[in-house]
Amino acid sequence: MAAVAATAAPKGNGGGGGRAGPSEGSGTRRKKGPGPLATAYLVIYNVVMTAGWLVIAVGLVRAYLAKGSYHSLYYSIEKPLKFFQTGALLEILHCAIGIVPSSVVLTSFQVMSRVFLIWAVTHSVKEVQTEDSVLLFVTAWTITEIIRYSFYTFSLLNHLPYLIKWARYTLFIVLYPMGVSGELLTIYAALPFVRQAGLYSISLPNKYNFSFDYYAFLILIMISYIPLFPQLYFHMIHQRRKVLCHTEEHKKFE
């Protein structure tokens, strides 16, 4: 879901600027974009994030070459992954203060689901860190984010190469299912260890008369992918048709 949702991010990170950017979501055009100071900040933010995810990409490749296998590559990029993915929480703030015309709720959902997978699953359940499913979603996220943040950077500077736009609206077709599979497999792998350790769980009796079963919670999360993933996926397919076909028509009239 985290993989799916982040690519579906509507106008996130100032992708509209002052001009008619690719209309996502309801296709509304914002007449006023962020001011010059906000735009400068957002360009810096998006450049830094692009660089960060490139670092992760390079880290994965180097580790693969050094080790000769693709197993347990998580450890070689653990720190930048945590840093840059958690840093994305700023995007919620961007929406809240209005410098990015996206919904706070949607952005929160997207970023929180990513942060949840990083910290509450992968970091918390050490035994899954060697699973191949982790590499699956990290790879999907890395490629997605590099494209997404460069997309926003170029949009803010009003110089969006068609290739980036194409990549953003096409590669998701493979990256989404890839990311979702990685996420689900990782959560599934974590289950027995959560059960065994009683991780993040509290049982009765206690003085706040409350109980929480993290194992059951994780299962609910996995189930929630069933209605959510198709919706987000088909939304992106719909967006793709709108954005890429619209550009085609524009090109015809040039």
Partner: protein, 304 residues
């Protein structure tokens, strides 16, 4: 003359040629229903502009900026359900559901607990308070409230019932659990909590009565509410929606009484929603009335 077009397709849906200039939108809606019986008046939204605001039922045709032929755009609001029905359903649920847990009906707790009773007095008190709260709400829905809108979209009943019934079940599960732990500060805590609860319930009821008296039966007039002789209504001096203030207070009281985290969470969620409603109401009061008392805050005196 009035012609009605579909707001999305601009298709001509209806042509009414014998409409008097003093006719209201409500009357026009009734005429429209005759030719399209599946669109009863409650689900019609008529507007002057396809993307504009809905016209009100009380608006009079000749007072609208239209020529000899008025063009109205129609939007289907979807299946509607009356507010009374929604309220009764959403409040009857928690009343009934809580009692299922209180009486420890089979399949909730272990079989050895079926139909047993808690040995903690606070658990019985909590059941009385919770039940009283929802009985009060049901009676107010039937006899006190005067609704400005008759209906709301049908999907709201599913959303609202999930919320009320879900939280009721969640709270009731813990309070009536065989492993329930009574409040840390014992009888003192329960007494204080009960006092808060009772005061806020009386307060909430007083506000509902005061609001009802503001509006004559069958009308949809709106006036600024002011404190009356009833001391509970003096909260109007400080907030626009003291009914919400008292409601949050009641649930805080209930949370302290039961010392149950799910109750506290329910209070928090309720508070968030009521704050949104209070801010909206406060804003419309300010827009509608130039002389609105400046000291008032939406829901929390001086703060929010």
């Amino acid at each position: 003359m009035v012609e009605i077009l579909d707001a999305k397709t601009r298709e001509k849906l209806c042509f009414l040629d014998k409409v008097e200039p003093q006719a209201t939108i409500a009357e026009i809606k009734n005429l429209f229903t005759k030719t399209h019986p599946q669109w009863y008046p409650a689900r019609q939204s008529l507007r002057l502009d396809p993307k504009g605001k809905s016209l009100k039922d009380e608006d009079v045709l000749q007072k609208l900026p239209v020529g000899t032929t008025a063009t109205l755009y129609f939007r289907d609001l979807g299946a509607q359900i009356s507010w009374v029905t929604v309220f009764l359903t959403e409040y009857a649920g928690p009343l009934f559901i809580y009692l299922l847990f209180y009486f420890r009906v089979p399949f909730i707790y272990g079989h050895k607990y079926d139909f047993t009773s808690s040995r903690h007095s606070v658990v019985h008190l909590a059941c009385i308070c919770h039940s009283f709260h929802y009985v009060k709400r049901l009676l107010e829905t039937l006899f006190v409230h005067r609704f400005s809108h008759g209906t709301m979209p049908l999907r709201n009943i599913f959303k609202n019932c999930t919320y009320y019934w879900g939280f009721a079940a969640w709270m009731a599960y813990y309070i009536n659990h065989p492993l329930y732990t009574p409040p840390t500060y014992g009888a003192q805590q329960v007494k204080l909590a009960l006092a808060i609860f009772v005061i806020c319930q009386l307060g909430n009821f007083s506000i509902h009565m005061a609001l009802r008296d503001l509006r004559p039966a069958g009308s949809k007039t709106r006036k600024i509410p002011y404190p009356t002789k009833n001391p509970f209504t003096w909260l109007f001096l400080l907030v626009s929606c003291p009914n919400y203030t008292y409601e949050v207070g009641s649930w805080i009281g209930f949370a302290i009484m039961t010392q149950c985290l799910p109750v506290a969470l329910f209070s928090l969620v309720g508070f968030t929603q009521m704050t949104i409603w209070a801010k909206g109401k406060h804003r419309s009061y300010l827009k509608e009335f130039r002389d609105y008392p400046p000291l008032r805050m939406p829901i929390v005196p001086f703060l929010l």
